[in-house]
């Protein structure tokens, strides 16, 4: 892997953090959503990150992989529903209320989601800095020739 490969690793992290921010934004937007196309209240979404798996490769690529340091990027493996039960509030006038007058709201804490969003933004910034550092390294290397 050369320095351009390092750029790819940080770029994969940028994609992953973008998706995390996306899911968090969705959670924030739907914090009070009581009805969904699938029925029931909105379920809080959680992203699961995974180390990038090598794609289809031929034997030469497999062999060359043993030479490098097994550096890998990150991908979003899946987005899962939060398991926690919905919050029930007594609102008999609400159209989504059940027979007892209770409405199920998603178990989303906006403050928690905001912290998550800040985490994603910081991690994104971090990886942009890493890309810039790698870029500077490549530029410096090219200066050897002059």
């Amino acid at each position: 892997m050369n320095l351009f490969g390092v750029l790819d690793i940080n770029a994969s992290a940028l994609t992953a953090e973008r998706e995390r921010a996306e899911v968090t934004a969705s959670n924030l937007a739907n914090a009070e959503t009581t009805s969904t196309p699938g029925g029931g209240p909105y379920k809080k979404q959680l992203v699961v990150f995974e180390t990038e798996r090598p794609g289809r490769e031929d034997f030469a690529q497999t062999l060359s992989r043993f030479g490098d340091l097994h550096a890998r990027g990150v991908t979003v493996e899946k987005v899962v529903d939060d398991k926690s039960p919905p919050v029930r509030r007594y609102e008999p006038g609400h159209p989504d209320a059940d027979a007892d007058g209770y409405v199920s709201f998603p178990n989303i804490n906006p403050a928690e989601e905001m912290v998550n969003l800040m985490g994603a933004a910081q991690a994104y910034q971090l990886n942009v800095s890493a890309v810039q550092a790698t870029k500077a390294m490549i530029s410096e290397t090219l200066q050897i020739l002059t």
């Binding site: 940028l14 870029k135 020739l145």
Partner: protein, 99 residues
Amino acid sequence: MGNTISGLPQIDWANVQLDVRQPSPDRTDFFQTLENAMDKVQEAQAGADQQVAGVLQGNGQDLHTAMVAVEKADLTFQMMMQVRNKIVQAYQTISQMQF
């Protein structure tokens, strides 16, 4: 003093084997390599171009992927320029040789 001056032996030019090496056709010379490198640069630039166009047209292209592609194209171009400078420098050194 029986030293006589004799002429140089006649050279049979018809049977002289000159050791001229023909480059074998499957050998890639340096300029071939350079040409391939320039193709790579072109490829990187075309890729970056396409991605930036994708971002500007708003068809869901990731912004950072386009940015990284542009940077990669820039750096490959700079690398090619450095190699080119080095070659020109070497050529000038040779052409200014004094005999």
